[in-house]
Symmetry: C2
Subunit: 514 residues, 2 copies
């Protein structure tokens, strides 16, 4: 195959014209152009780079109808959801424009000379963060705007001052090509942004000498493969992969007594959102044994409208993984057993449907079985599947929770006042394994703010110290430099005595707001 | 070999008793104890952990005479240097105690709910940094205090709240064992700190499931091997290696005209400091062609007192590398040719001396030869060797500088006012390849402060975004977590409404000093 072809998931039929894969010579040309663009982008005043980000946001807004239609044709995620996602993508770009204006992202720190310092006199030292250089970004399938061409990784890398070479996801090639044109035109900085297509171009990109860092959102296998290529380079580069997660949600007896209906509706909505193709999908719902929610959740699932999956490969993978989970001894199918007749059993062939529609799955297992068969059961099933884990005691709950691998998020629904001790233990367990801890809510929905963290211990990400959403996502693409005894005229503006950029800075250890 | 034996570099004779290597069962026990200690360390208030750091600093002070004597017996670095280094090590621990008291290191960020946020209402979000978990630290040979058992990596990991398992350097096993006892006793937290010995224990340590991150200071080959093991784990962990550097120093014609004597003395002192065994040694000195400094530097070198190298392996490696560099066509030996008779030629066998004394080397090469033979010449030679690079023009200088790989530091000596354009170009080139840029100084000597950055692009380090010296070294051992809609009672103190720890925090995007 030498081109990416888009498909309509509703029908499985091709849409749009094939987008040719990027050959080695073209990839090399693009990477060299990125290298050439890097010093200019880095040297821009933050306000000027903020203008570039706003220009990209503006272009997305101007072309919103066209882009939403293109995206819907290739992803079937629906115009409403896609329009919201496009807004979020613009908000994200504008947020980083604001971050540049605020200036803390440069982490300017000045230590004035101290001849009395021990064990030796201290010179004049002035530190700030610089862009690392050209960044490779690997787009995801499930957020064709927010985690794709003009998404959070691109926005944060450009904000940092890094040129971006974006590897398009083959699930929406037409949209990717069009967004790429719009971003490059809006930036109007030659070499600052380009889109490449094709598996081989993607593998070559992370190994190209011009690339200084890489960011990825996608599957554990794809992320691991690129991580390994980045680490094996003659000059290893930082690789920031967000690989998805199980995102456990714990429901206590107290919560169940207080608001079972709300929990049924909230869980069903969250796990089926985007047909279950969210990296923050609650894949595990811990319920007290004898919860009696099976039929109610099954009814809610039966009543939900679930769109087709994004790609044939995703549907195939989903069917296989869901069937494998259902076949583990001790696992029962809640929909199959308790809502019989509404759908075929999971271990029978999936019902024939138009395009890449998939049958939802809801499995249940006693907590001790989860512990005993953790290797088989604790695997992400990308699509409309979830596993109810039924615990007979707080001890069973905590033991099962301790086996869950690193996740992007985890949540607890409880009667916080009446169950204080248990809730504290659950929050501690979630804090140990997740990047985001939610009380009384659901993991889907990731706000784009200063405090947001969208990351977590392996296998949620390849680096627990960083986030791909929120202001601090910019840090992935910066490196510190310190100037020692450097005359004013040779210092970057961020570090000059007069603070011409009016940055918040730390001087002799004390934070000085702008 | 099943034990580390210390040697006196002055004589090559054994000193002290052999320290047994750590077997697999003992390593596992130590790592499990670290895991068990982690929650307690993490839960401590910053002031309490600061007390632990001060206790370690105090123990080093109380036992200073004993430790300096032990260190001198195993390293021959001399009591004066070692006493200064021990002071620096204590200052470093105390600095991190101050960092804990100041509180910015927690990066507390609070976004209050915003029902009007686009594209969706914003929940209450509160982010902070938590310790990553048990950390493996690999000690260096050349700073038996500051980059060894109680050195900067240990101090910053403990400050972050991480237990430390320290792999001792085999060059000073007796000192390492004794320091390990003192640190563990001073901490008085079971499992929080342990020292392991032996190559195999070191390789197993970075692969142990309990270890969440690793820090290393040492050779490129050792660092690369451990980096690769960390990256190849089933669950890759962050690996922060500081692998040394060439640290180019540029001298312009203007500087030469103004202060040649100062440059000769400064360079000779810097490159021979610690017998050239500094990772910040200026390994490359760029001089205008026809500089006429050869005899003066040779005389300064001849007059310098150079101690023995730290280990037999280092001496062997030094002799081989220096001879290999000298044999590259186009390279001449400044000491051999211009200071003939003062020492034997580099390509003849090294002079027989007591212990691991090595002959200094000073080579010279025209800048175009450096460019043409970059692969052979741009290698760190650990020990008292340096390469003078003679440039005929600013273009030659900048072309040669562009071939120098990532370094910890770079410096320029110039007539800043009269040579503004050239100096600007040199500072830009150094900024692109180094973590620290020095004007009018030498790279040896790394202050321990808020602004310090001791890092740089590969191969200076395995991760250009982080430092192993200075306040921000603590970040390597932290990971963010965000709490969403979490009731006050379940929040960590750092994120509670009343700000009980009086931290500087960011609230709704605005920095609020404590």
């Amino acid at each position: 195959m030498s081109a990416d072809q888009g498909y309509d998931p509703r029908t499985g039929e091709p849409v749009g014209v094939p987008v040719p894969h990027t050959g080695p010579a073209e990839l090399d040309r693009i990477c060299r152009a990125a290298t050439a663009a890097a010093p200019g982008l880095a040297a821009m005043a933050p306000a000027e780079r903020a203008g570039l980000l706003r220009a990209v946001a503006g272009a997305l807004g101007t072309h919103a109808d066209e882009l939403v239609a293109l995206a819907d044709a290739e992803t079937a995620l629906g115009p409403a959801r896609l329009a919201g996602e496009l807004t979020r993508t613009r908000v994200q770009l504008e947020m980083f424009a604001g971050v540049l204006a605020e200036g803390s992202y440069l982490e300017a720190v000045i230590d004035l000379p101290d001849p009395a310092a021990q064990p030796a006199p201290r010179p004049d030292l002035r530190r700030m963060l610089l862009p690392v250089g050209p960044v490779a970004v690997y787009a995801a399938s499930n957020f064709p705007f927010a985690f794709s061409v003009a998404g959070g990784d691109t926005a944060s890398a450009l904000a940092a001052g890094c040129p971006v070479v974006l590897k398009a996801h083959p699930g929406h090639p037409g949209l990717s090509a069009r967004c790429g044109q719009l971003v490059a035109e809006a930036l109007a900085v030659p070499g600052a942004f380009a889109v490449v297509h094709g598996f081989e171009a993607g593998a070559a990109l992370v190994q190209h000498p011009a690339i200084a860092a890489a960011a990825f959102t996608g599957s554990p296998s794809g992320g691991r493969a690129l991580h390994d290529l980045a680490a094996a380079r003659p000059d290893p580069i930082p690789f920031y992969g967000e690989l998805g997660a199980l995102n456990p949600v714990v429901v206590t007896a107290g919560a169940l007594a207080q608001r079972a209906d709300e929990i049924v509706a909230g869980f069903t909505g969250s796990y089926l959102l985007g047909s279950g193709q969210f990296c923050t999908k609650p894949g595990l719902l811990f319920l007290p044994a004898g919860h009696g929610l099976g039929e109610r959740i099954a009814a809610a699932v039966a009543g939900a409208s679930i769109g087709p999956l994004l790609a044939e490969r995703i549907k195939t993978g989903y069917d296989q993984t869901a069937a494998r989970l259902a076949a583990v001894p001790g696992v029962r199918s809640v929909l199959g057993d308790e809502a019989a007749g509404r759908r075929s059993r999971l271990d029978s062939p999936a019902p024939a449907g138009p395009g890449w529609t998939a049958a939802p799955a809801l499995l249940a297992v006693p907590a001790p079985v989860l512990v005993a068969r953790a290797g088989e059961l604790l695997r992400e099933c990308f699509g409309p599947a979830a596993l109810l884990v039924e615990y007979a005691s707080g001890e069973e709950l905590l033991a099962a929770l301790a086996t869950v691998p690193g996740s992007l998020a985890g949540a607890v629904h409880a009667d916080v006042a009446a169950e204080a001790e248990l809730v504290r233990a659950v929050v501690d367990a979630l804090t140990a394994m997740a990047g985001r801890v939610i009380v009384g809510g659901w993991p889907t929905g990731v706000a784009v703010t200063w405090a947001m963290h969208h990351g977590g211990p392996w296998p949620a990400t390849t680096n627990p110290g960083h986030t791909s959403v929120g202001v601090t996502a910019i840090r992935r693409f910066q490196r510190p430099v310190v100037y020692q005894n450097t005359p004013e005229a040779l210092l970057p503006p961020a570090l000059r005595d007069g603070n011409p950029w009016r940055l918040p800075r730390r001087v002799n250890g004390t934070l000085v707001p702008a």
